[in-house]
């Protein structure tokens, strides 16, 4: 579904991605883990077109998106959330979710300007779809509140709803468990699995909370210093000496 091949990215002398390669299969939930500064978020920014890699290739469903712009990639069915919640503070929760449906409304500029009947119909359908998605995420009660009035954890859930409402083929989640309590992390893990089973969405999950990674992911890729150092099922990868050395630490198994 998503293929990253030999991708490198530098900011001046700083090499943040170094010949990194991995792939995300159709309907798979893949964890991307590693220490801070490993290049995980940079990888996500490269995949979504925010940064353009100096070398390498990214393919989405077989189509080269390496040089595509962020909105073009989103229109092709790849959506993401951010490490810090980026809800629009000037819109209500449901309007934030409706934004996920915006790229191609059935009416054009002139239709919007004169208020054609299509406008009302599309807006009502978009609101309905967004409410259903909020309901699915357990956030329908907050629909009319401004996005900025929610707690950090609630904003993360709304952000996931916004990314999901257009039924993307690929969803990238950047540390969605930040700000969630342990029981909410378990609920989130169930949701992530449900996203895969109910919508058939492939998911790339960046996460430090290993509880979530183990619960949701069938495969894990580990990055360190811009390179992919391990790729496999969670148990095998977390037992890899390089992963223990660079990320988990020797006390990881003693504690778990």
């Amino acid at each position: 579904m998503l293929d990253i091949r030999n991708v490198s990215l530098s900011f001046g002398a700083l090499k943040v991605l170094n010949n990194a390669s991995f792939s995300l299969g159709k309907g798979e939930v893949l964890g991307l883990i590693g220490p801070n500064g490993a290049g995980k978020t940079s990888m996500m920014n490269v995949i979504t077109g925010i940064h353009r890699p100096q070398t390498g290739e990214i393919r989405l469903g077989g189509i080269d998106i390496t040089t595509s712009k962020p909105h073009e990639i989103a229109e092709r069915g790849l959506r993401r959330t951010f490490q810090t919640s980026l809800l629009c503070s000037g819109m209500s929760v449901v309007e934030n979710v409706m934004l996920g449906l915006e790229p191609q409304p059935a009416y054009g500029f002139w239709g919007a300007l004169v208020g054609s009947p299509k406008v009302r119909q599309w807006e009502e359908e978009a609101r309905q779809k967004s409410m259903e998605m909020l309901d699915w995420m357990g956030m329908a009660a907050f629909a009319d509140r401004p996005g900025s009035s929610l707690s950090f954890g609630q904003q993360r859930l709304v952000e996931i709803a916004r990314a999901l409402v257009s039924r993307p083929s690929v969803l990238l989640l950047d540390e969605p468990a930040v700000g969630l309590t342990a029981p909410r992390v378990d609920e989130l893990a169930e949701k992530i699995v449900s996203i895969r089973t109910e919508f058939g969405t492939s998911i790339l999950l960046i996460e430090h909370v290993m509880q979530l990674v183990f619960a949701a992911c069938s495969r894990v890729v580990v990055m360190n210093a811009g390179e992919v150092i391990a790729d496999g099922d969670p148990k095998t990868v977390t037992a890899d000496p390089r992963v223990v050395e660079s990320y988990l630490g020797r006390g990881y198994y003693a504690e778990s």
Binding site: I50, H71, A74, F109, V119
Partner: protein, 344 residues
């Protein structure tokens, strides 16, 4: 009493066109009873409402800071007036040409600048404004230079010139206001707010940021062009000094005083600023100081402008509700930071 108030609130929230049109009819009736001087002032308010509504889409909804609008306003006035003077074109044709021309020219002029944002965009548009002002002064063969030129007045239905341009301005401004208000309640409005609040998140959700900025700028340029064309007929005399940087600042003050990101503020701002200007005209020497003090007072004590206060009254509770959002009759929240819905 409770029923009418509730229905007014409900109609206002749902975006009904009835109330703006009713207000326009009342303004028209009042205007036709005023003496020429007061009617001139009222017409200025109406014309600037059109301009500020467009500026609000750009500044309030989309968060784009532009200093080019006095220049675009000026191009609209010059094109309308000069087409009549040089080519003998009828006023409606000249006005339509100016509106379409300024929309296109304004968009082309700032297209390179649309890759910018914040203060950099402001500086780029300031450069455009200064260049236009230079052309208006120095291209004397066409523009009549710094001295300006006399623009033809208009007459409709046997009314005098001021009454004619007043009614024309009121009708066009009402239509323009309803169209712009309708637009910001659709997905376009959400895109404007999204690029203002966070352009990275907007793009990640499929919003074409450059295209959205272009639409916002084209729309506001069109409003400025139309307002300029109306203004030339109102003044009867077009000169570069009517469209300089001082006028640009005045336009921004109108938008801020009325309430950034609120369509209602687009009407209130011009009315208040023009009223203050006229009230302080007798206080020569103190005019700028008093005007400045009033503005500082607004910034300090009412930074969100007047419109949010009115929304509170219309909402009937301690919330800063909004007028934007799709017309589904449901509670909505799309707005600028100045009047976002706040749960209390």
């Amino acid at each position: 009493m409770a029923v009418p108030v509730q229905s007014i609130r409900s109609a206002w929230r749902s975006g009904s066109w009835v109330y703006p049109v009713a207000i326009a009819v009342v303004v028209a009736l009042i205007g036709m009873t005023l003496n020429p001087y007061l009617l001139f002032l009222l017409t200025r308010v109406v014309i600037f409402s059109m301009l500020v509504a467009g500026l609000n889409v750009l500044m309030g909804y989309s968060g784009l800071l532009s200093f080019a609008h006095a220049a675009l306003f000026g191009i609209g006035a010059y094109v309308t007036g000069l087409m009549q003077v040089h080519l003998g074109v009828p006023y409606p044709v000249a006005l339509l040409t100016a509106t379409v021309g300024v929309t296109g020219a304004g968009t082309l002029l700032v297209l390179p600048a649309l890759r910018l944002s914040g203060i950099h965009l402001a500086i780029a548009t300031l450069a455009v404004a200064q260049a236009v002002h230079w052309v208006l002064i120095n291209w004397s063969a066409v523009t009549f230079g710094a001295g300006g030129f006399r623009a033809p007045s208009i007459a409709i239905f046997g009314l005098n010139a001021t009454q004619s341009i007043f009614l024309t301005s009121l009708v066009l401004t009402t239509i323009g206001y309803l169209m712009v208000r309708q637009l910001v309640r659709t997905s376009f409005g959400r895109k404007f707010v999204a690029i203002r609040d966070n352009s990275v998140a907007a793009a990640a959700n499929g919003v074409n940021v450059t295209a959205t900025k272009t639409i916002a700028f084209a729309l506001s340029a069109g409003c400025a062009g139309l307002a300029g064309g109306l203004y030339s007929a109102l003044l009867g005399f077009v000169a570069p000094e009517s469209f300089n940087l001082e006028q640009m600042i005045l336009m921004k003050v109108m938008a801020v005083v009325g309430g950034l990101g609120t369509m209602l503020g687009s009407m209130i701002g011009p009315a208040l600023v023009i009223f203050l200007q006229e009230q302080l005209r007798d206080s020569q020497g103190w005019l700028e100081i008093i005007f400045g003090a009033v503005l500082i007072g607004f910034v300090l004590f009412l930074p969100k402008g007047i419109a949010p206060l009115i929304y509170r009254v219309l909402a009937g509770k301690r919330t800063e509700t909004v007028e934007t959002g799709p017309r589904t009759g449901q509670k909505v929240g799309l707005s600028a930071p100045t009047d976002r819905a706040v749960e209390n």
